[in-house]
Amino acid sequence: MATETEDAHDEGHHLPAVEDWPRGFGEASWWPFVTAAGAGGIYVGVALFLMGFGDTNIVPVVYGQATLVGAVGLFLVGLYGWLYHAFVSHFWQRGTDEHSASKLQWGMIAFLGSEVATFSGGFVYFFFIRSGPSWPPGELPPLLGSLVLINTAILIASSVTLHLAHGAIRKNNRGRFIGLLGLTLLLGIVFIGGQVYEYYEFIAHEGFTLTTGIIGSAFYGLTGLHGLHVTMGAVLLGIVFVRSLLGQYSADRHVSVTTASMYWHFVDAVWILLVVVLYVGAEIGGGAV
């Protein structure tokens, strides 16, 4: 702020965005604006797409598609700039006080709280139909096959390897840390692949789609939302992995390993709940008509 003097700064007012573009200004950064413009653009793109979708031919569909692609690009650029300047650059110069760690952890805890609410919507829908008069919904696809069991085991294993990786970096064992982190990421990607394969089996061979009765909405709504979260978790772990390959993190600098782990374990826990409630809950007493 204009009236601040150097003295005021020496009292400890820190400047959060010295490195950001535009450079040389302590409290100015284009990244938030770019990121938000990208995110807003995604919504506008969806809106334009819906305006050209189906029999509403208000604008050509391609407008929406083009806007979406451009906006996602802009969003990613903004995200990269923001995360890079906020966390990655000058990694080793920044302080390692307890305070900034707890700030980020509280941020993640609050975010996970909001995620509970996000998932609740779909779960409540499932509880409604599962206890409603329309249940059972007729023919169900084979939900409880070997695929879901293997996939669940893979995701649980990935939580274990991530936990071990976290323990390794706490002991400054970098090699073990990077190896286990890479393994976690690999397991996560295999899980996503398994989900894609399950979708393919259901849609192509079972004819079970998003619009297949009341259970289709629940199945694809919940697993789709969860799949998006696993994907985002994999992206987060991927960022952490790349940073670890670049030589970042040590026993006293691993906040983002902690926060990314919290997120990953949360998504894992949601999956277990989802399997119990949706896969098992639908099969038990749901198959026979």
Partner: protein
Amino acid sequence: MQVTGQLLLTVLMGALLLGVAVFLARVEDWRSYTPLGAGGTAGESGYVSQEKPSGIIRWFTTVDHKDIGLLYGTYALIAFVVGGTMVMLMRAELWTPSNDASLDLLGSATFYNSLLTSHGITMLFLFGTPIIAAFANYLVPLIIDADDMAFPRINAIAFWLLPPGALLIWAGFFPLPDVIPAQTAWTMYTPLSAGVGAGNQSNVGVDLMLLGLHLTGVSATMGAINFIATIFTERSEDVTWANLDIFSWTILTQSGLILFAFPLLGSALVMLLLDRNLGTTFFVVGGGDPILWQHLFWFFGHPEVYILVLPPMGIVSYVLPRFAGRKLFGFKFVVYSTLAIGVLSFGVWAHHMFSTGIDPRLRASFMAVSLAIAIPSAVKTFNWITTMWNGKLRLTTPMLYCIGFVSNFIIGGVTGVFLASVPVDLVLHDTYYVVGHFHYIVMGAITFAGMAGIYYWFPLVTGRWYQRRLAKAHFWLWMVGTNLTFFAMVLLGYGGMPRRYATYLPEFATLHRIATVGAALLFVGGLIFVYNIATSWVEGTRVSSGDPWNLAEKNLNTAEWAWFEQRRETALADGGEEGDAVTDGGKVDADDE
């Protein structure tokens, strides 16, 4: 015929945008704004360019919580003007009962429904939530003596998500071919909002509004995460939980509510969008059923009421004691009642659904919790009254607004207690009584507290005084206007006038006209307010001390004024300005400009 109304609104919107553009063009040096007012010489010290770029770029790139607070405030006030204009069109249309001559103004009842929908959405999501974020951004870090928010960049992102959100929400009104603005009312009940049936709500205008709402919800959630992290971890060492101020307590509680309410709304909105466009069955009869929407919506919607009212209660609890000459009575109990409201607010949602045929046992339990939540609200009210009891009141404009808040809140609250009771609700449900009740809260209480805050902190933000006479005219126009408009609505409801209609039976004409006259008073008061703020910002009398409200003599000063004084001193040392002004409510020497 609908074209006339559309045109009218387009012209109004155009005029508004033109006004903003002219204003922007007139402000030559964007850097000249400082919290101490324009023209300080600190701008030339050379140090400034180390913090923020000059010109309008500063506002696009800022990550400073004070600047972002001002952006939120400006955004909210623009939305307030838009939402207010929408409702003035509706009130003008309601001057006559039938839809002949009067409806020509709007063109059709359909357009009335669109205005009604957008008025509600605009006021709650684009004015209410952001104006609170404005106060919280500017003040919480100052009060708890933090450097900034915990995540300055996320703070900026959260703000910049709002303009595209507003654009999408209002998109139906833009001259786009074949896009009809949503007419779902702000509750967006299915199956109407799912687009089934003979109506025109399958139109993409509803989708645009839902997308815009989702975006503003994401923004609110990011803000809430930021405030929680800030209040938990950025407090300076001498700000403990025991002496945390009441305003920060309400912001913390509100953020906790946002955290669980808004994401759920987000999920419900996405489910509705899927139902509308991809053929899912979330809210379809035989699937989740339309009642599921009401449960999900009100599980968000009732906490939303407290999301909107708790921080204004915090402002009143913070400001009112300054002019009562005493500390807040029963501070601890005001905090406890805030937390109690926060918890209970998630257990009252089905009182909006008493007439839907839900299980009577469910109704009884929700009735009990809804009545119970009146207790912490009453605790607060009695604490405000006892704070003033035997106090040495100074009737400054912020104080008048605080007292107006308490008075209106009592009427809004007591009318609410009756609605919480199932048998009474079954009679009054969906009548103007409900509209009157919640407008006493959102306009009479929440907006009044917002005004108390704006006038109280105007010197802090601008370093200048507002014009006292205009401010008091604003208050009295609003106090009278609010009670005329909304008490008439309470009476209309007793008479059986259903809400959301563009036409009515002739016997309701008198009360409707009273309500319209009251709304006109509110509108005039609003114009005076905007004029006062705009002109005072540029050329108001400068504040002459670091304690413009003379709080020190009663030992009632707070942290943000200490910050103000400190900044002022450094500015003075730099060759700041002199000027003299007395506090509002103090001696006035005919210097009202």
